[in-house]
Amino acid sequence: MDPTLFWNPVLETLDREKLRRLQLMKFKRIFKWTYENSRFHRRLYDQAGIAPEDIRSFEDIRNVPKVEKSMMRGIQRKTPFPYGDILCVPLEQVTAFRQTSGTTGLPVYQADTWQDWEWWSECWSYILWAQGYRPSDRVFLPFGYNVFVAFWAAHYAAEKLGCEVVPGGVLDTQARILKIKELKATAMMATPTYVLGMADTAKQKMDIDPAALGIRKITCAGEPGAGIPSTKKRIQSAWNARVYDHAGATEIGAWSFECTAQPFGMHVNEAFFLVEIEDPESGEIIEEPGRRGKMVITALDRLAQPCIRFDSKDIIEWDSVSCECGRTFRLIKGGVVGRADDITKVKGVLLAPSAIEDVVRSIDGLGDEYEVVVDRLGDVDRIKLKVEITPGHEDHLKTIEVTLKDQLRLKTNLRYRIEFYDYGRLPRYNVKAKRFKDLRKQLK
């Protein structure tokens, strides 16, 4: 095994038994720190009757109460302003503010000290090294540098690796493409939606072939797209680049990554995070591969505003295979397949919007954009799918419709009303897309 493939050749190849012991040791440490320093957590744990000396095994960890985003919303914007009494350090030690996107409700604030920020970029360093980023890379970051954590830590990690980082902050999409061309950037990071949108802009508005720009690696985050086979294929083909998936979150950190072996899944960085998968119905912890559940995650080294047994609502499952890259960090199959909030019952059938995306983007002649609208007529759910026809495929509408309906029925067990639109008519998104609209919630 080539040790230069790893950011940390010791931790990333640690045998499983030692890795588990390391996780338990670190969990005890972060739990004690949090119990002793965060008033919010102390209340939570005292109410549950659990103290640091009660944690001796992984079974004991399961007795530690979970933290949900709504609980954090409940205490924030109060004294000490703006984080409330969740912090483990005095406000004077906080050096960075970020907040969640607010997609699911009031944004949650996140405080980091300089050490936490260093930790963020350390976690990202594991990711970028595993995806083949090296000091010779010129990395372009086309995101709005603002209150959302997005690729901020990736920026610092790329610098730590020794890459040359080009911040594409306030530039518009066309200016970003021109800058990539001008500087011959070799790598890029953005949401899958935006990466596809950039390729579309280059082709349609600038007569530039993105595949010829020289980008060879793209790291995607913020949405499941890079883990959806047909979306990954479209991005790879548009840019002639390897596309890597990553999942992280403001309240958690950068916890998982696809490596260059690309085993159709992501490694969990188990040296820095403890991931548990919980059955959403029974609450039982799922250890075996092949069963999907909700992720409960602990960041083992985050100090100012800890993340202990955070109920992330991400839907994941363990993979049964080990990766040929040599890492002993477990794989989650297909990455994050959805969010518990998004997976909904339509006509009594469980529907994950990512399954629809996989179908739409696997069909030649359909654009990258789509929209799903679920509503109810009387007691009957209805589901409508809006898609765009790419220029030159208008004459094949009927064939495309038949294929689309067949594939959707096969992959999601549901029948859809299809609406076709001219290319460019559906909304475009720069950050996280909102393509699934459940109007039944408004009808209640």
Partner: protein
């Protein structure tokens, strides 16, 4: 993977730097350019502890 690096030697160096930075930090009272740069060095040293020293704690346990 068996590391060719002597982890105990690395850990010893990390401890030495940590101790030196703590001294620097103490000397930085009323001297912001010492104190604040020491905070940054301490954060980097902590990353070395997470990457190397924690592993050695497993052997001690």
């Amino acid at each position: 993977m068996e590391s060719k690096v002597d982890l105990n030697a690395v850990d010893a160096e990390v401890r030495r730097i940590k101790s030196a930075v703590e001294k620097l930090s103490d000397m930085g009272e009323n001297f912001p350019s010492i104190a604040r740069n020491a905070v940054r060095i301490q954060a980097c040293v902590k990353m070395l502890e997470l990457n190397i020293s924690d592993c050695l704690l497993l052997e001690d346990a």
